[in-house]
């Protein structure tokens, strides 16, 4: 896989003085989280996580607080040192980087957005946005030019001379986003960026972010505790619990094929209308069977919402085709079953 931008292999993070011993004990004897805490007084943050994020993908890591998702994402720019495992970012082994190379990775290749914004309160908005460029020694005029352009990108032009405390929460996080993008990094790490915002603003920022990523095509790792958000944004979603990935897949896979009760519990309240496609719910045609010619037809990739529209106007079964010929049918019964989950 040449287009893998971020690659994590068997990453472990164990906090505590005896983390190395605890780690080998886990590997050799397969201790549980609780046993490690009792025997080694160590806390397991991330346990044996592997994943790959490809060029331009938005990889959502979804989990409740304490599940280790924030710890995991900090391995990518080595704000946290792993106890074991390999992390490769843009074909470099992050753990092998020396001081200057690591700083170069952080200031040029990886931009990060934080849950509580973490803007510098004593600096103007434009100086906050230009931070990574300043740290790397770009001249004042040049970095302000870039910062102005990034502020325009998040529709905050004209706010450059204000201070962070003069901005609303949503605006601050847009500054945070502009700051992360100032160096034009290949990778964005978003650590629950919209969690602290109220629902309406959160929705707006999610849309703005989706629009931006369609244009800029940044490889993104997006941390959230909100499954709705993960489904709306993520190309792939990983569900994390107790430091492990429980399930990784597309939104549709997670919703329609939850691997266990934990995931099933999460997806229960999620609307399936925009996620599940006709191909998933149809009854395949037996060989030689043809549907009634008068029945309406949809594509296998059409979502349930489309099927509902069609079913409102036609009484009988709906034909599902792969674009060329019919491959299955959906009855009202199938449709109701699919919607209720």
């Amino acid at each position: 896989m040449t287009d893998a931008v971020i690659e994590c292999r068997n990453v472990w993070k164990i906090f505590g003085e005896n983390s190395k011993e605890a780690h080998s004990a886990v590997i050799e004897r397969g201790l549980s989280k609780k046993e490690i805490l009792e025997q080694y007084r160590c806390v397991v943050g991330v346990a044996d996580v592997s994943f790959t994020v490809r060029q331009g993908e938005i990889f959502c890591i979804m989990g409740l607080s304490g599940s280790g998702k924030s710890t995991l994402v900090r391995h990518i720019n080595r704000l946290v040192e792993p106890t074991a495992g390999v992390i490769r970012v843009a074909n470099q082994d992050v753990n092998a980087l020396e001081g200057p190379q690591l700083r170069q990775l952080r200031s040029q290749s990886v931009g990060m957005v934080f849950q509580n914004m973490a803007l510098l309160p004593h600096r103007t908005v434009i100086d906050n946005v230009a931070l990574s460029l300043e740290l790397r020694g770009m001249s004042r005029a040049d970095r302000h030019d870039v910062a102005l352009e990034k502020l325009r990108l998040v529709s905050l032009d004209g706010w450059g001379d204000r201070y962070p405390d003069e901005l609303s929460g949503g605006m601050k996080q847009r500054v945070g986003l502009a700051r992360a993008m100032a160096a034009d990094p290949e990778i964005l790490l978003m650590d629950e960026p919209f969690s602290a915002l109220d629902p309406l603003i959160r929705r707006q920022l999610q849309e703005q972010f989706l629009d931006l990523s369609k244009v800029l095509k940044k490889t993104t790792v997006f941390i959230t505790h909100d499954l709705d958000e993960a489904i709306r944004l993520g190309t792939h979603i990983a569900i994390m619990k107790d430091g492990r990935f429980v399930q990784v897949g597309t939104a549709e896979q997670i919703v329609t094929e939850p691997v266990d009760d934990y995931v099933a519990d999460f997806v229960k309240g999620i609307s399936r209308l925009e996620l599940v496609s006709a191909g998933k719910v149809m009854q395949p045609l037996a060989a030689g069977q043809t549907p009634a010619p008068s029945s309406p037809s949809v594509l296998a990739s059409d979502k349930l919402s489309k099927l509902l529209q069609v079913a409102k106007e036609h009484d009988g079964v709906i034909t599902v085709s792969d674009g060329k010929r019919p491959v299955g049918v959906v009855s009202r019964y199938d449709l109701l079953n699919a919607v209720s989950g």
Binding site: L79, N116, A118, L120, R123, L131, L135
Partner: protein, 320 residues
Amino acid sequence: MAECGFLDPFACGKLPLAEWMTAGLRWAVDNYRPFFQAVKAPVDSMLLSFTAALGAVPPMVVVLVVALVAWQIAGIRLALGLVAILLFVGFIGVWPETMLTLAIVLTSLIFSLALGIPLGIWASRSETLYAILRPLLDGMQTIPAFVYLVPVVMLFGIGNVPGVIVTVIFAVAPVIRLTYLGMKQVPGDVVEAMRAFGATESQLLWKAQLPLAMPTIMAGVNQTLMMSLSMVVIASMIAVGGLGQMVLRGIGRLDIGIATVGGVGIVALAIVLDRLTQALAKPRKKGEWLSKGPIGLVRSVAKTSRTDQAQQLPSSAIKN
């Protein structure tokens, strides 16, 4: 009298702590006096230049400078208040003593900051250092100041320079403590963000930690200054001149007049220095002070005269 026994073990003998201290100090004096004398040199030269400068400048120039600085950092009201206080000090006839005390206090302040701020920053990064420093600081702040007059006199002698040294020992604790506190209070997420964007340790310190800790550090500076001033009378016992000397003489001769004049001078100096450093401690946004006070006035005058010229130029060009 009491007999040595279980009920009164103290009669059996005593730990010779006093003798040990005497012997220890004598040993230090015998072996390290040249070292302590060398420490005096930089203090001496700085104190001399302060005294010379403050003594040579006409009083009204000092008043004017204080007024301008106060106007700049706090506003016109404080400036007027401080002018009134300084004039009062001058008219009760203690101007030279006040200037000497000011020189001593400023020298102590500079050495306290040069010592205290780096130590505070270092302690905030090393818990071991802080664990060592904390009981030392507690001791320095609780041991009565009279106690360390003795070793200071034996190691450094008497006069203004040992006075500065004893004042630094007494007054350095708050700036160390508050620098430590200010550095610890810098939000962890800001530090993390700086690291995430590739800051080196020194960039982290200069661009984020120090600016954010500055109000707290300035509160420490203020405290250190006030403690230096409170040391003025005690230090006068080892022949430090200035306002403290007047108070001490007043006590010695039961002369209420001279004690009052000296005391009032100290209070006046305390008010001036306190208000100035407190105004400095207020968090302020970059560039804000450029548009305020005398500098703001000069700038706005310069600006209007420039635009006047700019407007006049075309009209004169038309005439020609």
